[in-house]
Structure formats: C-alpha cells, structure tokens
Symmetry: C2
Subunit: 536 residues, 2 copies
Amino acid sequence: MTTAQSTQAPATATLTGQMIIAGEYVTGTGSAVHAINPATDERLQPAYAHGTAEDVAAATAAAAAAFATYRNTSSAQRAEFLTAIADNLDAAVDTLVARATAESGLPVPRITGEVGRTSGQLRLFASVLREGSWHGARIDPAQPDRTPLPRADIRQRKIALGPVAVFGASNFPLAFSVAGGDTASALAAGCPVVVKAHDAHPGTSELVGRAITEAVAATGMPAGTFSLLFGSGPELGIALVTDPNIKAVGFTGSRSGGTALVRAAATRPEPIPVYAEMSSINPVYPLPGALRSRAADLGRAFVGSLTMGSGQFCTNPGLIIAVDSPDLDTFIDAAAEAVRGSTPTPMLTPNIARTFAQGIDEFDGAATVVARGSETTSPNACRAALFSTDADTFLGSEQLQQEVFGSSSLVVKCRDQQQVRDVTAKLEGQLTATVHVDDTDHDDAGALLELLELKAGRILFNGWPTGVEVGHAMVHGGPYPSTSDSRTTSVGSLAIERFLRPVAYQDVPAGLLPPAIADGNPEQIWRRVDGELTRD
Amino acid sequence: MTTAQSTQAPATATLTGQMIIAGEYVTGTGSAVHAINPATDERLQPAYAHGTAEDVAAATAAAAAAFATYRNTSSAQRAEFLTAIADNLDAAVDTLVARATAESGLPVPRITGEVGRTSGQLRLFASVLREGSWHGARIDPAQPDRTPLPRADIRQRKIALGPVAVFGASNFPLAFSVAGGDTASALAAGCPVVVKAHDAHPGTSELVGRAITEAVAATGMPAGTFSLLFGSGPELGIALVTDPNIKAVGFTGSRSGGTALVRAAATRPEPIPVYAEMSSINPVYPLPGALRSRAADLGRAFVGSLTMGSGQFCTNPGLIIAVDSPDLDTFIDAAAEAVRGSTPTPMLTPNIARTFAQGIDEFDGAATVVARGSETTSPNACRAALFSTDADTFLGSEQLQQEVFGSSSLVVKCRDQQQVRDVTAKLEGQLTATVHVDDTDHDDAGALLELLELKAGRILFNGWPTGVEVGHAMVHGGPYPSTSDSRTTSVGSLAIERFLRPVAYQDVPAGLLPPAIADGNPEQIWRRVDGELTRD
C-alpha cells in the first residue's frame, strides 16, 4: 500500500472512514465525501476519502493472488464462509439499521427487512454450494471399443471466472450493495470480490465490509478474497473495470452508468462480461375483466406499489397500459385520490431528488398530469406523480418511454386490446411485466403473455412487481436495456452461473481429477453421465 | 423479394447458385464468386452471386415472423425437424462428399466423416430436446402462510433468444457451417437461423441449405425458420449482425473477423451476444517422464496431429512447451524427420495458403527452422513447418505468440518446470491444452493443471487436441481470444444454452402456464422444485 496509511481493524463498531484492501484498513488520499441524511440534509460523519488508481491496483492484485487459493476451496468451506458473513450481518442488525436508515432516508422496517434479505441471500448461496449442482458436472465415459474411433473419457465441470468487481447500488444499501446478491453469488462461485461502495451510504458499506472481512479471517480465507473501495464511478469505477486482474463485473444502477461500464469492459484488450441491471419501467396491464370487477381496489393497490420506498425500486410500476373505458376511469380516479393522499417521503440522495423533480417537469409537457402527492417542505421528498396519455402520443414520444426513477407513473390509454399489444411490441426490454385478470380475461391474457415473454424477465399476474422474492425460480433480469445480459438473473440461485465457465477434462488421470467429476462421486452431487442425470 | 428473381426449388441436385430466403430460391444481384478447387486451382461452377442489404432484411424479417410460431413448437416437434435434416444430409452423403472435397481439397474419408458428424450433432440436439432439461424448469411453490409475508408461486423456464445469425467456417464445410453446431443448437433452442455461407464452399452450402429447407417444409415449420445468404463478411456479414431482428450470432473464423462482429454487435442500439470462436495455438506439454519413456513416439504422433487436414483445425497443436533435455532433442528429431517426410496437402483456399506461407516467412526470422515438409509444385499446398526457440525469446516476441493457421508448430525450450509454468501463465486464452505424462510426472502435471484450467476450455492428457468429440461433456471454447465468450461451448449439448434466456412466471394462472412448468409435470422432465431436482 503505497498511497495510504494502514491501521489495525478497529476494535469497536465506530466508523473510521477507511477502505478495506485485503484485510487492511486504509485511508484514501482522494477527495472526501460525507453521507447526507436525505430526510434532514444533515451531513453524516465520518468523511470517506476516495481511493486512487493505486488502491485499485493493490486490491485487484490481492484478489488475483487470493484467487489461486480461494477458487480451490471446497463447496463446504465457501458455504461456511458465506454463513459466517450472514451471521455477522444478523448480529450487527441494530448498528446497520441505524446507519442505513440515516444514510438512505428509508424507514426502519424496510432496512430491517433488507438486512434479513441480505443474510438470507448469503445463506441461499451456502445451500446452493452444499447441494452441488452448481458444478455442472458431466461425464461421458470412455468407449475404448467404439468404431470407427474409440471415445476418450471426457468430463466437464464449471470453474470460477476470476476476481469480480461489484458496484454498490444506491437504492438497496444492503441487498444490492457490499454483501448483496452480486457479491454473494460471486463469492459462492469461487471469485474474490472488489467492491466499489456507493457514495450515498459509505458508513453502511464500511460496516458490511467489516463483517465480510471478519468472516474472511474467521474462516481462513485468503485476505485478498475481499476488498472495499470508495471512489467515483468515472474514475475509480472505470479503473476497476479495466484492470486486467478483474474478470467480470456486477452493477446495479443507471442506464448511463451501466452503459459506460459495458463499453469500458468491451474495449479492454481482454473483454470481460458485465452484468449491469439498468433501467426498467415495468408495464402493468389491468385487463378489462379485472377492471370491471375491481377497478378502484386495483387503483389504490397500484399506488401502494408506486409509492413504496419513494418509488426507488428497479421494479417500480412506471407504466399502466389499458383499454380506455369507464372502468379504467374508475381505476385512474382511485389511483389519483391515493396519489393525492400520499405523504412525500425522502429520496435516497439530494441528487436523486433533483433528478426526479426534473423528470417530472419534462413529463409535464408531454403528458397530462392526473395527480400529484401533497406539497411538502421536507428536503429531498418525493411527491408522487400520476400522468396519462393516449397510445399514439406515447409511441411518438421518446421522453415518455424513459424511466423516471421515483414514484412516477404514466397511464397509456389504448383503443382496444390490439393497440395494447401494439404498444407492448414497441417497448424496450423490462425487468417485469404485470397482468391483472379475472376469469373472463383468459384469451387476452394469453395473447399478451406471448408478447411479454419477449420483453421481460419476470411476468406476474394479479400482484405488483415491487418485492423480488429470493429463491431458485426468480429471474431479476430481462432484455436490454433492463440489463446488459438477458441470459441471466441478478437475484436468486441461478445468479451463480454468471461467474462460472465450463472446462472439459479429457483422459485426465484419476489422481488429478477434481472431486466434483471424480470416479465414485465423492461429493455425492447430481451429475450428467452420458446425458442422464444421476447421483450414482 | 425486391432484389432478385424467384424460382421453384430445383427438382434435382443440380446446383443453381441461388440463395434461399424463407423457402424461396433467389439469385443474388451482387458480385459473383466461384468456388476454387484448391488441389487443382480449377474454378467450379456455378457462379454464386452475393446478396444485398435487401436480401438480409428479407431473410431477417422472415425469421422474425417465423419466430413467433417456431419458438412455441414443442420439443418433440423440433426434435423431429432436426432429425429430418440429419436424414436428408445422410441421404445426400455422396453428393455432399463429391462437392465438399472439390471445394475444400480435403480427402474423402475426412468429409465422409464430417457428414456423419454433422448429422450426428443434429441427432444429439434432438435427444437433448426429448430429454427436456434444456427448459431449465424451476418451481418455487407458493407459501401462502409464510410470515411475515406470504410467498408467491414462482416458476422459471428458458426461452429462445430470437433469430440467430450463423457464419459458416472455412475449415469445416459441414460440421461448422450451414447445418453445423451453431445452426443445430440455435434451431434446437427455438431460434430461426439465417446463415451467411462461406465463399470457400458455396456449393456445399447450397446443398446443405436445400436439405434444411426440405426438412422445414416436410415437418411443417414456418418458412422463415431458415435462410441461406451469400455475401462478403464486411458488407453482408455486418448488415446481418446489425439487423435489429437478429438477437445472437454464432461465428467460427479468424480473430480479426470475430472481433469485427463482436464490435458491431456491441455498438448496436440493442447489443446482442456474439459467440465467436477465433484463435488458438493449443499448447502441448510433454513432461519429463513422458519424454524419458517415449520421446520418439510422441514426436511422430505429434506430427500426425499437426499435419492432419493440412493443420487447418482450431485445435491444431501450434506450440510445444517443454524442459530442454536430451529427451526433448529426441522428440524434436523424431518430429523433424516426420515433418520432412510429410507430403504437402492442399489448403482450403488459395488465400489461406498464401497467408500460411506469409506466416511461415515471418516466423523464419524470429525462431529457428527445425524442419519443413517436402517441396512441391502442387498448388496451394501446405508445407509443414517446425520451429524452435527458447522461452525468453518466445516471451519477448508477439510474433511467435500468434496463430499461424496451418501445419506450423513451435517448440519452446524451457530451463526447468518453473519456466514452463511461467511461459504458460503468459499465454493468451486457448481452446485446448495437452499434457503428456507418465506416472513419475504426477506432481508437475498437477501444478500445470492448476494453471491450464485458467487458460483453456479443454485439457487433455496423453492424446492430441485435434478431433473434438461431440457429446455432453465436451467444451469447445475457452478464454479470450480463443473465443469471445468463455462461459459456453460451440460443440456438445451445452451449446444450446447460448441461445436461451430465463423467464420467471409469478402467480400465472394454471391455464396459461407453458407445459414445461405446468402442474403435474406433463412433459415428464427433470425440474428443480424448491431447489431439489425431481421428475415428479
């Protein structure tokens, strides 16, 4: 570490403002930032000084050195490590909630839930490791007597890609940040992780970074398995993504930020994959039967989803597409009333609040304002906004097809169900699409589902897109620009696949074969032998 | 079709020089090319006129239209379709062998084998479809009583990406061309395919295109499921990759060609994945024990692999890395004798032969010439070449680390096993790495295997890299620049994954669920239910 002083790990939970490079606590030498409590505009201590290109190089070199050992730890060892991180987070829940609520303006129950979700994700990947299918083990046994040519013994398993750069997201200070889904799945795969913390919640990042660092030490992982850096996206972020030791990137954030990282990664001498989750307006389709039977209830429930967490979810419902009708008017009236009755809540940062207000202003000219949340003098508050327009205006306006990050949504009124489908066919890729139906909507819903499969990563019926279950079947992903890589998910157990690649072993002597593909199945995992799944 | 005349499908196997756009036979309006028999420099009839941007647009629009139907055909229907293509190819074997040997200069047994390999690949993907794991079906059942929040019913399956552009390769006129592994796996996934034929074997391409087109009609697939275009890479190829209807690309060819396609795809308004298999020199490691016990045999066998098919394999052994010793000299002497005794055979095209000769000339100054194949006056012949150098010279020369496509290989002499590993650590990504051992080499082999896992897609022991088995465990892929995407393979059943993406279905009514994730498992496939594999 040439650029900064090193100290021992702090004995208490007092925040130090330091980065963590391979187990060493390091004070940055760049410009310093403070977190801001967006509910009060209060500047939170301590200062977090940004790192430099030298800190990036130190962290990635340590990660590359750790990789040689870490990638060969057993599934059981990594499961123990992930569980230790989860335990540390759960034990620190009060400290985490206090700091993260102050840094984000998000309410205590939400952040308390997010701590549980974050430790739950780590435990999910521990279970994925113990189950063992992640190895992707395949064995095609030798056929020495095959004619005209004998067949060699060929075996396949998946191995870790290498050190991964993870970018903390503003809107989930825990679940999509330092120990979030990207970190959990990369560590599970056997990849060391270098995190660039988000400047909106550096204190939470430090606390979580410390929880990981302590787990690294307690479970005997190499120190370079984890590092935490502070810095700006265009500088330290790009340095990280273009560092030759980094082999993949996880990112959740804006379309412009994600696109910049994708470009930087693609133009490296050795291009690497970037998993960027970027932008989605998450269309909702209340079909005629559903509107007929429960328009007002749907309108109110919609606003509940729209205003939750100041609308700062990747899956926030930003678009309602429906056939114009008196029932749709009832839906809109109920939603408008709920919007007007909604209390503005703080957004994550002053900058996000400014960008939201700007986005609303720009929509104001392009669509009709149906309702706004109540006025407030609270700083950085999100006054919910509901707009409406017709399908032709929507399709003719690039503006109206953009995401406004926050509680803003647009109702697009269509002539008929065909126009609903025409509008849908022109949408960009989405994380989610939501359909509300009753029994009479079956045919319309079927025709819509056909289209939505090609537009979204998750299709849900009679619910709301906010709230992403962490499980085995979840897809939090979708076609561009909702993500940069539709072939995967950033939430759920399938996410581990992002950081693995297959290797074939042909006629490798038994004594050199890794356990996952060794004779006798010592790991007792599911393997595909001559194409058939078996645990024998 | 605005650009060209249409005719009925020819009744006989007489070649017409026409492209095939969604079942219609179309004569191109661009510049015309002829295949050349590289063994004789004879110009082969008929002329193949290149297509235009309008032909690309017609083919991709037809593919997009077909996609809506084709992606929803059942696994059984697509298996039947792939099998029909395979049957058609097997039935046409004599015609295919006659034309492909004339166009490629490759011998009859090789092309006969390649026809069988190509139909075998199609049958493998038919079996993958019938087995059903390709769906990636996952079900997390609802937990209505879970606290604090109930869990929704969430199901996941994989769906086809959309129309795929496939580029025929020069070196496998059948197995990596019109109906090769890219086409077979894309069609299996439910993706229509638009092929750009390689100008080196247009007649073979037409014959195979006809076999596919007849199978499309016979099994009732939509006409746009398959099209075959002729054209130049920089023009028609780039038009194809940047066409908004194309959603993924498969390519086997040069590093410069692959890189150009990757760039074009990455800078589209909607970037798409490119699976380009590009460049590999396939290091071979004869370890000291193996050399001690069988140096001369290894040297001769090496040259067998080196000169097979004029060295025009992606997996051709272009590098021997070993500790300098009298045993290594014995290996080199035996190899040199075999090289000198080797008969030059024609390369695929006059251009490839010229490029090979140029590459040899450039090596000539940078390394020591150990042996050349015999002189010949045959046109386009590949005179095998064996070079040697020391490790320091090798590491200092960018030139010597480049692939020379053809029967050229370089022996890198190292001081000790540590230097063997140092050289290996600096290699670029490779398709294969080969280790020759006997029992005394176990420790060295283990240390090398650790490194090779990070450098290659397939590691083989005591064999030769040429000859890629088509099965479930094969990986024909590897880190950049051997391919543009190390997370997959272009040979073997895993290749289908390249053209799929996951979609989650949350609380979707039973009547609208696709069979793969429906209640009661109507397809009787393996599914992951709450994380556990089951066929129930």
